[in-house]
């Protein structure tokens, strides 16, 4: 995008300001209360126009020696000054808890969940929360209450996505001034590779692996009932038997003699690593949808065949961070 010189200068100043604030504040905890010293306030463009209006009115009042004109000018001056306090107060003491973010696929938006808390008996109106250069959310928080909201952030590519700086700001009440605070959460979101639109069907894949494999029915064979154990999926509960016997029973399936499926790095033909990863992601998702146990073997790592959400997540994470250092491990989001 072509930028005019002054826009360029403004962007430079903005970046410098960000770095300065970052040095000044350091990294913020995931749960914080906005302190007075970290809230900045400057007039908006409307505010500058308002100031210019007041100045012209002052000149006019002096020229015409018009005392009602002076009254209007000074009332507007007073409103401007009072607004500054209201705007500032709207942010001071605001609590912000980062609640976590669920993994997404590349190309989707990650939803960062927050709770904004107000420990005062006054309203906080029109709090704008936004990642740098992303679309904002506006929240009103009632007295002594919380507001839950989630903040979207585009996830363009796989891997651990570092969040940009978070800006909490408000121009309430009149839009003349903007009070804001910069928050460096330094949190990350896990972005799975974008699943390919199509990939070799699973059966082809498995037969390619194991020529003597059986035809797959998609569902495993029913093998019997056993007692419910914590962690069993409610979908597997045999509700009819429960109604009859009064105890929780779970249907058990045998894997129908099938060999567990191995999703292999070399099983798909792709031009480059990224498209290969996205095909593998598609395979993982398809296998999961077919409720098939599968394993994942990548160069340098392997995950044993398994089933279930946890397993899928682990595989997808392996794919997401392939070739990257898995530095988000210590910040495992509470999904």
């Amino acid at each position: 995008m072509l930028r005019l010189p002054w826009q360029y200068a403004a962007a430079q100043i903005g970046d410098r300001g960000r770095r300065w604030a970052r040095r000044r504040q350091g990294v913020d905890p995931q749960r914080l209360e906005l302190a007075r010293r970290r809230i900045y306030i400057l007039p908006t463009r409307t505010g500058l126009a308002y100031a210019l209006t007041v100045f012209v009115l002052l000149l006019g009042s002096m020229n015409y020696n018009n005392n009602m004109g002076f009254a209007l000018t000074f009332l507007l001056t007073g409103i401007g000054l009072v607004t500054m306090h209201h705007c500032h107060r709207n942010l001071v003491g605001l609590r912000l808890d980062f609640q976590g973010v669920a993994p997404v696929f590349a190309g989707q938006q990650a939803q960062f969940r927050f709770i904004a808390g107000n420990s005062r008996t006054m309203h906080r109106w029109q709090i704008r929360v936004a990642w740098d250069r992303s679309s904002p959310r506006y929240v009103d928080i009632g007295p002594l209450s919380d507001a839950r909201f989630s903040l979207p952030l585009d996830a363009p590519s796989r891997g651990w996505m570092q969040t940009p700086r978070l800006a909490v700001s408000t121009t309430f009440p009149l839009g003349l001034l903007r009070a804001w605070a910069w928050i460096n959460l330094d949190t990350t979101a896990l972005v799975y590779p974008k699943p390919a639109d199509s990939s070799p069907p699973l059966d082809v894949l498995s037969s390619a692996q194991d020529a003597g494999g059986q035809q797959q029915s998609g569902d495993d064979e029913f093998s019997g009932l056993r007692e419910f154990r914590p962690g069993d999926s409610p979908r597997r509960v045999a509700w009819k038997s429960v109604a009859r016997l009064g105890t929780l029973l779970v249907k058990e399936y045998r894997e129908g003699g099938r060999q567990p499926l191995w999703i292999e790095w070399n099983a798909v033909a792709a031009a480059n690593t990224e498209s290969r990863l996205s095909m593998l992601t598609r395979l993982v998702l398809d296998a999961h949808r077919e409720r098939q146990a599968f394993g994942l073997r990548l160069p340098g790592s392997a995950i044993a065949p398994q089933r279930g959400e946890q397993h899928v997540h682990q595989c997808l994470r392996q794919l997401a961070t392939f070739g990257q250092t898995d530095d988000g491990a210590s910040q495992e989001p509470s999904a």
């Binding site: 350091g26 990294v27 905890p29 749960r31 914080l32 463009r45 409307t46 126009a49 308002y50 209006t53 012209v56 009115l57 000149l59 006019g60 009042s61 002096m62 020229n63 015409y64 020696n65 018009n66 005392n67 009602m68 004109g69 002076f70 009254a71 209007l72 000074f74 009332l75 507007l76 001056t77 007073g78 409103i79 000054l81 009072v82 607004t83 306090h85 209201h86 107060r89 001071v92 003491g93 808890d97 420990s119 005062r120 008996t121 006054m122 109106w125 029109q126 704008r128 506006y138 007295p143 121009t171 309430f172 009440p173 009149l174 839009g175 003349l176």
Partner: protein, 659 residues
């Protein structure tokens, strides 16, 4: 219609409301087409917003704006000045409404509303304009607020509450700034001419024959507060323009003639009468004063020929000044012979019958004085009537008046008298001004109204100008008791109007007293009053910098108090133990190890010690004290003091200290 669309309608409605409040005071004064334009655009805009019609594009708006500009210039023949400027603002705000979608456009309309309010105050600053100030500001602030709110707009009640709170908190600042902002006298650049905005009052020409009905305006010309004895009713002559130039029909004023020296007070007369005069603006340069002013403190005042008190610039604001005058109707002064000669000039062949009569009477009289007394006797003796609706007069108005109609008001009599004096070779001139005054018993001052306007003559006799008031000869009640007493019964009702009723008159006078106070203390506030206010506050010699310092300090104190109040509002008192513990947690949060949401105090302490064993001593002690104070009901003051002290001294560094 979806919620967002409804929200936009509400925002536009507030904006239009603010615009209507700010422009309504102008409606009586601007061309009807402007009112029609503004109202129709406002109505159309509301409909357009409701039905989601698309707004006109630039191809339509730019020609419309140009057309509006040309139409304003066409209507007013100018582009500057209050009249044309206001019209232009109204057209602009109307056209701006056609493109207000974004918050920015709405803010611009709101800011134009402030200019419209200011223009309204240029027109009128009466006491009710405070109401306009508050109402207009409230609406415009609401509109600004609504335009800056994202998502659904605020309900009317809530936005009004917000606006009113802001205004209420801003009013103390307004008062501080109003009284302490350094006031500088005078305009910086030329003020646009009044543009015929209809200021009533005296004029610089008098055409007795051209007026068939005199305005009986009750408007206040000026108010007077006497500081010495109040002069007798027959001495209450307020001198305005003195007219020496006569062309046969009309008298004209020129700022000419010798300027009397200020110390040229006529000796042998009563002591000076001292008074303070608060003059309403009339757009001309003359200041009013009791008959013969000898001292005055109007900053730009000077004494012109004919003892006329003048101002260097037109009086466009209400002005107050103190003056001292000599009454008695005699001004002794050294006039230049040429000036005196000019005061005997009559155009040849005008009013021939009057001139002939004057010369005949003068020959019959023994002296100039006897001749003039004979003229007064003639007015008294013969069938002259005082009326405010005389007939129009023709080419020789004095002839027609003296020999045919014989009905007229003060200007007819004064003009005829002066012409008769001049015809006899006696220098004579017409003096216009006011005669009389009405006391307001509720506040000790006197009101002189436009209906007190009067004209009389001054005649040069024995080296002094002597006052002759022929109207007094015809209708002495006019001088002693006022206008209504002098009129025939049929004409009185119009004059008295509301004031005929004693109860209503009392109300009218009360209202006038309120207005007078408003004028004196609020509208009359200027550099001089400001200086005396500061002196009364203890500044012996208030300077500009004192004012700025006082203004800044008081505003800062107010703002600090407000900030404190706002900061406290809504914060619930916190248990002192908890407050200290939070400080402790904050310190740890600052080094990157704050408590997690689900951590109890002991878990938290253990977790921190796990990471930072070097802090273990302090953390264990503080945690133990906290548990005792908070959960074991220990409230001993010394324990709390120890807890506080330990936390005060707890300053964990970012880096781990070597053990």
């Amino acid at each position: 219609m979806n919620a967002a669309a409804t929200g936009d309608v509400v925002r536009i409605a507030w904006l239009i409301g603010a615009m209507l409040v700010a422009s309504a005071p102008h409606f009586p004064f601007v061309s009807p087409w402007i009112i029609a334009l503004v109202l129709s655009i406002a109505t159309w805009r509301l409909f357009a917003e409701q039905r989601r019609w698309s707004l006109p594009s630039g191809w339509l708006r730019i020609p419309l704006a140009l057309f509006g500009l040309i139409a304003v210039i066409w209507t007013y023949r100018r582009i500057s000045g209050v009249q044309a400027g206001t019209a232009l603002l109204l057209v602009m705000v109307g056209l701006k409404l056609l493109e207000t979608r974004a918050e920015r456009d709405q803010a611009i309309v709101a800011l134009i509303c402030f200019f419209l309010l200011f223009a309204a105050f240029l027109r009128e600053q009466a006491i009710w304009s405070v109401g306009l100030l508050l109402l207009g500001t409230t609406f415009t602030i609401c509109a600004l607020l609504q335009s800056s709110v994202r998502g659904p707009p605020f309900p009317p009640r809530r936005s009004l509450m917000h606006a009113m709170v802001l205004i209420a908190q801003a009013i103390p600042l307004m008062l501080l700034l109003f009284f302490l902002f350094p006031r500088v006298p005078g305009p910086f650049w030329a003020l646009p001419a009044g543009g015929g905005s209809g200021i009533t009052g005296l004029s610089d020409t008098v055409n007795p024959g051209d007026i068939s009905s005199l305005s009986r305006s009750d408007a206040v010309a000026f108010r007077v507060r006497f500081e010495s004895a109040v002069p007798e009713p027959r001495e209450r002559y307020w001198r305005g323009p003195v007219m020496s130039f006569f062309n046969g029909r009309s008298w004209a004023w020129r700022d000419r003639g010798l300027r009397p020296r200020a110390d040229a007070a006529t000796p042998g007369h009563a002591a000076t009468v001292n008074y303070e005069l608060i003059l309403e603006p009339h757009g001309r340069r003359w200041l009013l004063a009791l008959e013969t002013p000898v001292q005055w403190d109007a900053p730009r005042g000077y004494l012109a020929g004919g003892y006329q008190l003048m101002n260097q610039t037109p009086i466009r604001q209400r002005i107050a000044y103190r003056a001292g005058s000599v009454t008695g109707g005699i001004n002794r002064i050294d006039e230049h012979p040429r000036y005196l000669q000019a005061n005997t000039f009559l155009p040849p062949a005008s009013n021939p019958n009057s001139v002939a009569m004057a010369q005949r009477l003068r020959r019959a009289a023994t002296s100039d004085r006897a001749y003039l007394m004979e003229l007064l006797r003639m007015f008294r003796r013969e069938a002259f009537y005082y009326t405010l609706s005389p007939q129009l007069l023709g080419d020789n108005p004095v002839d027609e008046f003296l020999f045919e109609t014989r009905k007229g008001f003060c200007e007819h009599y004064a003009s005829a008298f002066a012409v008769l004096a001049r015809a006899a070779g006696i220098p004579a001139r017409l003096v216009t001004g006011y005669q009389g005054a009405e006391r307001n018993p509720l506040a000790d001052y006197w009101i002189v109204r436009q209906s007190n306007a009067h004209a009389w003559t001054e005649v040069w006799l024995d080296g002094a100008w002597l006052r002759f008031d022929p109207t007094a000869a015809v209708a002495p009640e006019r001088i002693e008791y006022g206008l209504e007493e002098a009129l025939p019964a049929g004409e009185r009702d119009g004059i008295r109007g509301l004031r005929g009723n004693p109860v209503l008159n009392r109300l009218v006078l009360s209202w006038d007293a309120v207005n007078a106070a408003w004028n004196q203390w609020v509208l009359g506030f200027g550099p001089e009053v400001q200086r005396s206010l500061l002196q009364s506050l203890g500044f012996t010699k208030p300077s500009w910098s004192d004012l700025v310092a006082a203004m800044m300090t008081s505003c800062a104190v107010f703002l600090a108090a407000l900030a404190f109040m706002l900061g406290r509002a809504g914060v619930r008192p916190v248990d002192p133990v908890l407050r200290q513990y939070r400080r402790f947690c904050n310190r740890l949060a600052n080094i990157g190890r704050g408590p997690q949401p689900a951590e109890g105090p002991s878990d938290f302490a253990r977790a921190v010690i796990g990471v930072r064993p070097d802090l273990a001593g302090d953390i264990v002690a503080i945690n133990a004290l906290y548990l005792q104070l908070r959960y074991e009901g220990m409230t001993a003051a010394d324990r709390l003091a120890e807890f506080t002290e330990r936390i005060r001294r707890f300053r964990p560094s970012r880096r781990r200290q070597p053990d």
